[in-house]
């Protein structure tokens, strides 16, 4: 996935995932008369914004050399909280929901940092446990937003573009800049790329790890709040399986699972790829069963093509 090194510093032209995004975009434009319209495109943006926001945080955590499987559950908790606490005031509710995400991120980060337990298992535990918290809090109930301002916000637009899409794109921009421009962003790469060297250089591993888990927790919560506002409601099962799609999108975007390499632009491409595929196949009325197979097949094809494009044929040993 990394043929075009240095893209994130603006050195080279285009990441492979974007070529794919453009290709399927053109394909669906021809295949479905409903696909290519401003409202459908904003529709796609709104639909991908949820996984997209999760993926922003996930990119950081993965570049850092960790992973977070609890994003789906955190999203669910934040959604339930933001709707459930609304009787106490919308601001309080939003703040509480975001705080919950931050706290869960901090707990994950703290445990990974202090115990050295693999992030995979820590967040796998959290994925189960946080879902438990949601059911404990909601007692299995779905919540319906009494405050219509909240639901209207989710449906509102600025000009022709939905607010949710704008928020998503803004967050993407900010996170891109933070990753490429700030000390924290660069140190995130360092810690993921060579932890030993980072410690020697005096970079505080734990701190960056914590911050990144808090970031992913925050974005999961934000995604939950926005999704809840989009629905005007929250259900305790919200966000199930999202972690898998999020990881898929991030990896499609070129971020390495082993850490030290990745970019927000790539992640945006990965998220859009999945969003466009889903939307396009809906438009083409591909039967649901086949959509699963096609998504899987496309994922693998992209991996293979990427491998072929970046074939190390001559420079590396064939192993």
């Amino acid at each position: 996935m990394t043929s075009l090194k240095g893209f994130f510093r603006g050195k080279t032209a285009i990441q492979p995932i974007w070529i794919f995004v453009i290709a399927i975009f053109i394909f669906f434009s021809f295949m479905s008369e409903y696909f290519l319209s401003l409202s459908n495109i904003t529709n796609i943006l709104v639909q991908t914004s949820t996984i997209g926001l999760l993926a922003l945080g996930m990119t950081y955590v993965m570049i850092n050399g960790n992973i977070d499987l609890s994003v789906g559950a955190t999203l669910g908790l934040a959604a339930s909280l933001v709707v459930g606490i609304q009787p106490l005031g919308l601001t309080v509710a939003v703040l509480a929901a975001l705080a919950a995400g931050i706290v869960i991120g901090a707990i994950n980060g703290l445990i990974v940092w202090k115990t050295g337990v693999n992030a995979f298992i820590v967040t796998l535990g959290a994925m189960i446990g946080v879902r438990g918290l949601i059911f404990l809090y909601t007692q299995e109930q779905s919540f319906y937003a009494t405050n219509f301002a909240f639901a209207d916000f989710g449906a509102s637009t600025i000009g022709p573009i939905p607010v949710l899409a704008i928020i998503f794109l803004l967050c993407t921009l900010v996170m891109h800049l933070v990753l490429t421009r700030t000390g924290h962003g660069r140190n995130t790469f360092a810690v993921g790329g060579n932890p030993e060297a980072s410690i020697d250089a005096g970079i505080r591993l734990g701190r960056h790890m914590m911050i990144n888990f808090i970031i992913v927790g925050f974005f999961a919560a934000l995604a939950g709040v926005l999704l809840a506002s989009q629905m005007g409601a929250a259900t305790p099962n919200l966000g199930r399986d999202y972690e898998l799609w999020t990881i898929t999108a991030v990896v499609l975007g070129g971020t390495k699972l082993t850490g030290g390499y990745g970019s927000i632009t790539g992640t945006l491409g990965g998220v859009l790829a999945i969003g466009i595929l889903r939307n396009g196949m809906n438009m083409m009325q591909v039967p649901a069963f086949y959509v699963l197979v096609i998504l899987g097949a496309i994922l693998i094809s992209v991996l293979i093509i990427d491998k072929k494009l970046n074939a190390p044929s001559t420079k590396e040993v064939r192993i």
């Binding site: 535990g125 898998l244 898929t248 990896v251 096609i294 899987g296 994922l299 693998i300 192993i319």
Partner: protein, 315 residues
């Protein structure tokens, strides 16, 4: 040797058993223990195979959907072509999918997490296309020996437990005492050095996915026979439970290390946690929260224990 290095988690395991037995008198009853082990055996059988994949330096997240696939297949074919043919065909097709995984990861050298994630989706789709989304059932439940795998007993021990135990022992022996096992450890420990030692790395990786698929097929046999029917999503979420069990046992995800014994213990811990909490009468969501805490505590203790031993024996 490998058994001893799992002792940290073992102590924790025994301690947990004692605590649970205070809260629930049935917990340590023989029948309950047998129930838990039997329930854990499906996850356990799969975990045996996935442990081999992990030792070889890869991951397999497709086992959940593959379990759905195999179970639906064997149950559906049971009435159509007879149990023997159904079982043979199911094993063949399951191994075929395992071979696809193995080919993509071993020979095409694609990232295993993403390939198996994609396969998770694709196989689920295949199941649905195959069954048309319908549940499948075995009509004549009384008169078939197929029931043996999930419900039978040999010498007073449930067949799923026997199968789990047998697979665990065989695979453990293969991993510890054969050249093949040694090669898998080498490939997982340092793929480059393995190739430089003349080991067919790609074949080794490929074969681990066949083992994984074989174990899934065995699990499907037990599951299909136990339920005598199957839903299309029966295996959904198993991949994460399997991983949780493996990691709980103390096998690292990095590859090149680990053992089947550890996995067996990890899977049993997971089973006893769920069972113990249920017997104590907590609602399911409390079980989830407690599972969270226990997973972290267990792994943490194990890690602390290892660290201590490392310090005392390091010279």
């Amino acid at each position: 040797m490998s058994f001893l290095s799992a002792q940290g988690i073992l102590v924790f395991f025994l301690l947990g058993m004692v605590v649970f037995s205070f809260f629930s008198e049935q917990f340590l009853s023989q029948s309950n223990i047998m129930t838990v082990v039997r329930q854990a055996s499906i996850i356990g059988i799969i975990a045996v195979g996935v442990t081999v994949v992990i030792i070889g330096g890869n991951l397999d997240l497709s086992v959940g959907s593959l379990l759905s696939f195999s179970t639906v297949l064997v149950v559906d074919l049971h009435d159509k072509i007879g149990p023997v043919n159904a079982i043979l065909l199911m094993f063949a097709l399951t191994l075929l999918i395992g071979a696809v995984n193995g080919f993509l990861i071993g020979f095409m050298r694609l990232n295993s997490l993403i390939v198996t994630l994609a396969m998770l989706s694709a196989i689920q789709g295949l199941v649905l296309i195959y069954s048309g989304g319908q549940n499948v059932d075995i009509a004549n439940q009384q008169g078939t020996w197929f029931a043996f795998f999930g419900r039978g007993y040999v010498a007073g021990i449930a067949v799923p437990i026997l199968l789990f135990g047998l697979l665990a022992i065989v695979v453990q022996v293969v991993m510890s005492y054969t050249g093949y096992g040694r090669r898998i450890f080498a490939v997982g420990g340092n793929p480059m050095a393995a190739v430089y030692s003349g080991i067919r790395k790609n074949w080794c990786v490929f074969s681990t996915y066949l083992i994984s698929a074989f174990c899934v097929a065995c699990a499907a046999l037990v599951l299909g026979s136990r339920v005598m029917g199957s839903q299309n999503n029966v295996g959904q979420g198993y991949e994460l439970l399997v991983l949780a069990g493996i990691i709980l046992g103390g096998t690292s995800l990095l590859g090149g290390a680990g053992s089947i014994w550890k996995t067996v213990i990890g899977v049993l811990i997971l089973g006893f946690i769920q069972n113990g909490l249920l017997l104590m009468g907590y609602p399911y969501y409390i079980q989830w929260i407690v599972t969270w805490v226990i997973i972290i505590l267990a792994v943490w203790l194990d890690l602390a224990n290892k660290r201590k031993r490392l310090l005392t024996t390091h010279s």
